[in-house]
């Protein structure tokens, strides 16, 4: 058995074991479905209520992706600006830290005030959540560029833009993708927070309504869906990361495949 296969088997075993233990413990201690439903009950609820859940799931996916996309664009540009110029770094960084330390849930009422309840606040909250890690990582990546590599370009009389394009950008890609994996999950947090506070659509809203009806299995079904969506987005960006920044990993798989 190869080490990779063994690692995967352990990982799958761990996940399955978690749910089996959950199921068995609930059965053994006769835990009420109003407190903690068993995984099997949750799965049955998901299956039975699928037509009702689907539009909510799509709404959450839509607001999250839209917010995430906006967050990537803005975060990347801000990160380039801050990482590329010492002046911009010193000027903007304290303000950025100030903004990021505001609990994002506190911004939702303001967004609702401006744009009304629904889709827009969810997109904006998701965006705000993911901007900060992206900005910090892109800026760090740019400033981590080795001076020796810049000297190579300078002796060729490259312009600042050419140095940024040929050295700074590729050098910061590993940092950028590391931040995307964090930001992808944060975007879900943002949109779900906004949906629970002010929306009549989305998984967050579904869970709020279900919990006020004491439909606890449906609440957990919402959680499962969120986890699944989050994992899916994480996997997508991990795959892209592997293709773009494989050079920084230097694994055996890359050396034979690249």
């Amino acid at each position: 058995m190869s080490p990779t296969l063994r690692r995967r088997l352990f990982s799958i075993g761990c996940i399955l074991g978690f749910f089996v233990a959950w199921e068995l413990l609930c059965l053994a201690f006769r835990v009420s479905e109003l407190i903690l439903p068993r995984p099997s009950v949750i799965l049955v609820t998901m299956w039975a209520d699928f037509p009702a859940i689907l539009p909510h799931a799509l709404q959450t996916l839509y607001t999250t992706l839209a917010g995430f996309g906006l967050g990537i664009v803005i975060g990347f540009l801000l990160g380039m600006l801050i990482g590329g110029s010492r002046l911009a770094y010193d000027t903007a960084y304290p303000m950025l830290v100030g903004f990021s330390s505001i609990p994002k849930v506190a911004l939702v009422p303001i967004f609702v005030l401006w744009f009304g309840a629904g889709t827009v606040p969810a997109i904006l909250t998701a965006m705000i959540m993911c901007i900060f890690p992206i900005v910090v990582n892109v800026a760090t990546g740019l400033s981590a560029t080795e001076p020796e590599l810049q000297d190579v370009m300078k002796t060729l009389r490259a312009t600042k833009l050419e140095i940024l394009w040929n050295i700074g950008l590729p050098r910061s890609m590993p940092y950028f993708f590391a931040s995307l994996k964090v930001a992808a999950t944060l975007a879900f947090v943002g949109s779900v927070i906004s949906e629970t506070v002010a929306s009549n659509k989305g998984i967050g809203n579904l869970m709020m309504i279900a919990s006020s009806n004491f439909d606890v299995p449906l609440v957990f079904a919402g959680l499962f869906i969120l986890a699944a969506l989050g994992v899916a987005l994480y996997v997508v960006f991990s795959l892209i990361e592997g293709r773009v920044t494989g050079w920084s990993v230097r694994s055996d798989t890359f050396s034979t495949g690249g």
Partner: protein
């Protein structure tokens, strides 16, 4: 930019002209002089080696000429123009390979063609055809044929250094700056690269400035050797190497050659022991 001086220096056909250049770091209270007032002229097609102990400012001179460091005083002229404005193609190899880890060897070597005129024109079209062949041919001369698709970390340190030399040479530089590029290599690889470098210089006659600790390397490759001393950095001897070319590694064990390296060593040891006496 001072046009009057620029005209004069170009008239003497010096590719490099350092006019009373000094470099110091820090503020007045803790000023470190890396290079005391130094003048140096290097003519077109010369192969000059700068030798000396650590901290004597030999790499500083190279950085001044490369334009990655500004002089605190004096003027640096390259091809008759103030450094930076000079229309001269510079190739530089560093002590470390400094290859870009995200590019394979071929794209790394090709980098100057992407940046430097006139090669940059039509780069996108030529990179798969003309430039690719050009890179492969150059890689073959340093024994890296077929390694174009490899990434830097898949190569040994010596091979990376060869690739780095190729990057310094790919755009036919008229001025080649070598900052101890053979320093970290084993004896045999080093001697092999000396031969390659000499052949290349005889064929294309670029102006070369080589910084090195290795006196044998300086005597084998250079047509002129400048000995430097440290604290403050300055040139204490400037002598021509008389040996006929092409030189062989075997010849470097003959009495004349050994006498020259002995002499250079003596000057450096004396300068280290008592800096004032050597000046």
């Amino acid at each position: 930019m001072k046009p009057a001086i620029a005209t004069r220096s170009s008239a003497t056909e010096n590719v490099i002209n350092l006019e009373k250049v000094g470099v110091s770091f820090g503020v007045a209270s803790a000023l470190v002089t890396a290079l005391a007032e130094t003048s140096l002229r290097i003519a077109h097609g010369e192969f000059v080696a700068l030798v000396g102990p650590s901290g004597c400012g030999k790499s500083t001179i190279l950085k001044l000429v490369a334009g990655t460091l500004d002089a605190s005083q004096g003027h640096v002229f390259v091809a008759g123009r103030e450094v930076g404005a000079a229309p001269v193609r510079i190739g530089m190899a560093f002590q470390n390979p400094t290859l870009l880890p995200w590019l394979n060897i071929r794209d790394n070597v090709m980098l100057p063609l992407k940046i430097v005129p006139p090669f940059r024109r039509g780069f996108a079209a030529k990179r798969k055809t003309e430039y690719r062949d050009r890179v492969e041919a150059l890689l073959a001369t340093v024994g890296l044929a077929g390694f174009g698709d490899k990434f830097p970390w898949q190569l040994s340190g010596g091979m990376q250094q060869r690739a780095s030399l190729c990057r310094a040479l790919i755009h036919d530089p008229t001025l080649l700056l070598l900052d101890e590029p053979f320093g970290a290599l084993d004896q045999f690889t080093r001697e092999e690269l000396w031969e390659i470098m000499q052949t290349l210089w005889i064929e294309k006659r670029p102006t070369v400035v080589l910084v090195t600790h290795d006196l044998k390397e300086a005597a084998y490759l250079a047509s002129r050797i400048c000995v430097m001393q440290a604290r403050p950095g300055r040139i204490i001897e400037d002598s021509v190497v008389p040996f006929a070319r092409p030189r062989t590694v075997e010849a470097s064990y003959e009495p004349d050659f050994v006498a020259l390296t002995q002499h250079l060593r003596g000057r450096i040891v004396a300068a280290r022991g008592n800096p004032q006496a050597a000046a």
